[in-house]
């Protein structure tokens, strides 16, 4: 029996006992927010501080109790049947639960996240997978997967996708890698990934390029982490020069998120370095800019005030302060001002060489 299955059964059994004895019924799970994480400096990720939210069965929690238990029952069925359900599918399954059904998907996602956090597992272990795209990969990499029906090993050469790319699956735990690449480049936008792929940047630089398409999904984070760990190669992150690229994308990839703090340990890439556009780059390359939006400023200020990772890194504090002061942001594509392939011919090589221009 899987660990997760044991945990589900134990939860149900404990509840059953309490209720049978007319005792107070409770469920406990860690608080999922940035307030409840600390930055683990040694290993380089956000970990839970340990604040727990205790739900006692009452009129106010009875619905959540019912929904959580129903979700656990669904998870049990999925694990037993060795099947999976996307978050969206799980939401639709709940439509069979009568009054206990979810009205909107964010409600079912939250219950799912709570169960994960309670059991300190990831959703794939519960039989659930994300809805979102996992990320695109190209370059000097061979992924070793298994045929989903026969279970036979298959090798996927990521240099052989032409103008296309390899798509990161939602569960990456069973994957193995073969690579001689020197580094991994994680890219914010699909557009920039396409440009680098078209000109086979990965071949010139002997690297693996990954498109994150915004904030990297868990499987994308895990995939990069596994590659980096197994091949012992560095990870560089190339994003827009704005607070969203810096904090939401880079910081989540590097140290994890507040929401998924219970699994950050495995779902982040502490060794990653920031090679994205910095305020200094904006000046140095005289990049075309856009004014910072109010939401950008708020994001930067929040990070300075509340983000344990930023609080631990003076460089980041300076970068964010400079950005607020400069009042402008610049996108990856702004480099096209100096020629469409300026990014390949100049920017990335120059950045790679000059370690001082990186951010930690």
């Amino acid at each position: 029996m899987s660990e997760t299955l044991k945990k589900i059964k134990k939860t149900a059994t404990d509840l059953f006992r309490s209720i049978k004895l007319k005792e107070k019924a409770e469920m406990e799970s860690p608080v999922r927010s940035l307030n409840n994480v600390i930055y683990n400096k040694k290993d380089g990720f956000f970990e839970l501080k340990g604040n727990m939210k205790k739900r006692t069965l009452s009129a106010n929690t009875v619905k959540t109790f019912a929904q959580t238990l129903k979700m656990m029952a669904l998870s049990k069925d999925l694990i037993n049947a060795k099947d999976i359900a996307t978050k969206r599918e799980a939401y639709y399954v709940s439509k069979n639960w009568g009054e206990a059904r979810f009205k909107e998907q964010p409600e079912s996602d939250a219950v799912m996240d709570d169960i994960e956090a309670t059991f300190s597992c990831n959703r794939e272990q519960l039989g659930f997978i994300a809805d979102e795209h996992g990320g695109s990969v190209a370059g000097e990499l061979t992924v070793i997967d298994k045929d989903t029906t026969s279970g036979k090993e298959i090798k996927i050469d990521c240099t052989k996708f032409g103008s296309g790319s390899y798509s990161v699956p939602s569960d990456v735990e069973h994957l193995k890698f073969q690579t001689k690449a020197k580094f991994i480049l994680a890219i914010e936008t699909q557009g920039m990934f396409e440009r680098l792929n078209k000109h086979q940047y990965w071949k010139k630089s002997n690297s693996i390029i990954v498109s994150m398409s915004g904030v990297p999904s868990r499987s994308c984070r895990r995939f990069i982490r596994k590659m980096s760990d197994e091949a012992k190669i560095p990870v560089y992150v190339f994003t827009d020069g704005d607070p969203y690229g810096m904090m939401n994308i880079y910081r989540t990839l590097k140290v994890g998120s507040g929401n998924a703090a219970h699994i950050n340990e495995y779902f982040c890439v502490p060794s990653a370095k920031f090679l994205g556009i910095t305020p200094q780059d904006i000046a140095q390359y005289k990049l075309p800019t856009h004014p910072l939006k109010e939401v950008d400023i708020k994001r930067a200020k929040d990070a300075l005030k509340n983000d344990p990772f930023v609080q631990d890194h003076k460089e980041w504090q300076k970068a964010l302060k400079d950005m607020i002061k400069g009042k402008v942001r610049a996108e990856q594509q702004a480099l096209a001002k100096h020629g469409l392939n300026f990014v390949i011919s100049n920017y990335l090589p120059e950045k790679m060489k000059n370690e001082k221009s990186w951010l930690p």
Partner: protein
């Protein structure tokens, strides 16, 4: 007048024998009786329907006042007989003290004759107009005299009179005066024929009778309407109300005309003793202060006081600080009695009442009482129902012009969970009863239909409404809480089966165990929340409610149409 003025303006010498003299020929003294003959609406005889109600009301008010003064538990019978198209005979009989022989003609056949005008005492009648006006109306519309039978004691004879009013002279016209046998210890019986129309519904005799019983719980009323059975309204209490005390007028409440009359009729030798003896709250010191402020010598003889001096005296009174009049002369009904009466009439789910301590307007003591009935049989989508009483007399007309109306719309009912848009009548399942008790109730007209807008009175009414309103709000909130709680419980019950089911799905418990889980969950979630208070409407809970009583005079569909007809006719 206009014509003469114009003539002189154009410098033409007016012909002595023309206009003014001709006009003078047509000018003569108009008696009060003649005046009211032409202005019957001022006395509440605007239309046939109202005439019937007013006639009965005046007779019953007098009977109640007389019983109260003689400390008798009243038993009054009211009979209405249909004599022909729009012709009715009303017979009102009481067990009061009776009237001494020589007073009978004046009381019934002379307007403005009465014992009450110069009295400041809480009673129903005020100026001695009412019953003689009814007699006059009857005589005017049917040509028939009023018939009075009265007896003042067991060994005394009963006197029978047939009376008309000489409207030119405002004096009684005695058609018959004889002694009759009457096997009654004492009492008075009044019989008046009049043109009228009888209807049920709002502003009807039935409503007046019903509300009179509510506000006078010590009265037994025997009512025989023209159609249908005799109705016995037995007194709810044997306890007679405390006798109201008569007080002298307070200087602050006296108007110039009244002051002049008082000073002319006083027995006092000097102006100072006049002030001390004929007014309340004027002592030696305050009398001197008033005179000093009026610049009048204290030895001035009352008969020497002219109009100018009277005006000075009014000024002096205004400038002098006087103690407010005594208020123990007021006999309110009491919050409990008011509520009890309301319960009899309206089957509601919640009642609250308050009797305010007496207050003073223009030197006249008064007290306000309010009772509220909420919910039950009352419609929730209509304007609230208002019942008004002044000195224990129901007020059925002119609600919009009444101070009570002002007080109600000035109150913020939303705060009590009742709908109200702007300064309008609130909407909801509510009956508000407002009673004003005073030595002198200020009406807007002689018909005594609406209470005048004195700030002090409206303020007291509002305070009383607010006090009951707060109680009501507590109840409405409690009801809402209970509703929420019940909703929460049904919410809980919705999810209990799912919890049991999920546990069953995960660890495979037996059906019996699943039932135990459900029961225990119900216990854990609900029983620990305590008992839900019982609120809401239980039609059987109100033991005071008298369905037969409440239905007196309530219109049925067909009668509704009749009343519409009547309204059209009266206009």
């Amino acid at each position: 007048m206009t014509k003469t003025t114009l003539n002189s303006f154009y410098g033409k010498a007016p012909n002595k024998n023309t206009t003014a003299h001709e006009l003078a020929k047509g000018q003569r003294e108009i008696s009060i009786a003649e005046f009211f003959e032409k202005n019957r609406h001022l006395l509440g005889f605007d239309n046939k329907r109202k005439a019937l109600m007013t006639t009965i009301k005046e007779a019953v008010d007098n009977a109640l006042d007389a019983c109260e003064e003689a400390d008798i538990l009243p038993e009054i019978s009211v009979e209405i007989i249909e004599m022909g198209t729009d012709k009715f005979r009303v017979i009102i009989e009481d067990n009061g003290p009776g009237i001494v022989k020589k007073q009978i003609p004046k009381i019934f056949a002379k307007l403005l004759y009465g014992s009450k005008f110069y009295k400041l005492k809480m009673q129903r009648g005020q100026q001695g107009i009412g019953i003689s006006a009814a007699v006059m109306y009857g005589q005017l519309t049917t040509g028939k005299p009023a018939r009075i039978l009265s007896k003042i004691g067991l060994s005394e004879p009963a006197h029978y009179y047939e009376l008309k009013i000489d409207t030119a002279k405002n004096s009684p016209d005695i058609l018959k005066d004889e002694v009759r046998d009457w096997d009654k210890e004492h009492g008075t019986k009044v019989e008046i024929d009049l043109e009228a129309s009888y209807n049920k519904g709002n502003q009807s005799v039935d409503e007046y009778i019903r509300e009179t019983a509510i506000i006078n719980p010590h009265v037994t009323l025997i009512y025989s309407p023209p159609k249908g059975d005799q109705i016995m309204l037995v007194r709810a209490t044997e306890e007679k109300p405390r006798q109201p005390r008569e007080i002298k007028p307070h200087p602050y409440g006296v108007e110039l005309g009244m002051l002049i009359k008082m000073v002319q009729n006083t027995k006092a030798k000097s102006i100072k003793s006049f002030l001390k003896e004929d007014f309340s709250r004027v002592g030696d010191k305050s009398a001197e202060e008033i005179l000093e402020n009026s610049k009048i010598l204290s030895k001035t003889k009352p008969k020497d006081v002219n109009r100018d001096m009277a005006e000075k005296l009014m000024e002096g009174i205004k400038k002098t600080k006087l103690m407010m009049p005594p208020t123990d002369c007021i006999v309110p009904l009491g919050a409990d009695m008011l509520e009890k009466g309301l319960k009899k009439e309206i089957n509601a789910e919640y009642y609250t009442s308050v009797s305010r301590p007496p207050s003073v307007y223009r030197g006249n003591p008064f007290a306000i009482e309010v009772a509220i009935a909420y919910g039950g049989d009352q419609p929730a989508d209509k304007q609230i129902n208002v019942m008004r009483f002044a000195n224990k007399v129901p007020l059925l007309y002119q609600q919009g012009a009444c101070a009570t109306n002002q007080a109600i719309i000035d109150t913020n009912w939303k705060g009590y969970g009742i709908q109200q848009t702007g300064k309008n009548m609130p909407v909801g399942p509510i009956t508000v009863v407002i009673h004003i008790a005073s030595v002198w109730v200020p009406f807007t007209s002689e018909a005594k239909e609406a209470i005048a807008h004195y700030n002090e009175i409206i303020k007291e009414m509002k305070l009383a409404i607010q006090e009951t309103g707060r109680n009501l709000a507590k109840y409405v909130n409690k009801k809402k809480k209970v509703k929420d709680e019940l909703k929460k419980r049904s919410y809980i019950e919705t999810y209990i089966p799912h919890i049991a089911e999920a546990i069953k799905e995960i660890i495979g418990i037996s059906a019996t165990e699943e039932e135990i889980i459900k029961e225990n969950l119900k216990y854990l979630l609900e029983d620990t929340r305590g008992k839900v208070a019982e609120v809401g409407f239980d039609p059987t809970k109100n033991e005071e409610f008298d369905a037969d009583f409440a239905s007196i005079g309530k219109e049925k569909k067909s009668e509704d149409e009749n009343s519409e007809e009547d309204k059209g006719e009266s206009k």
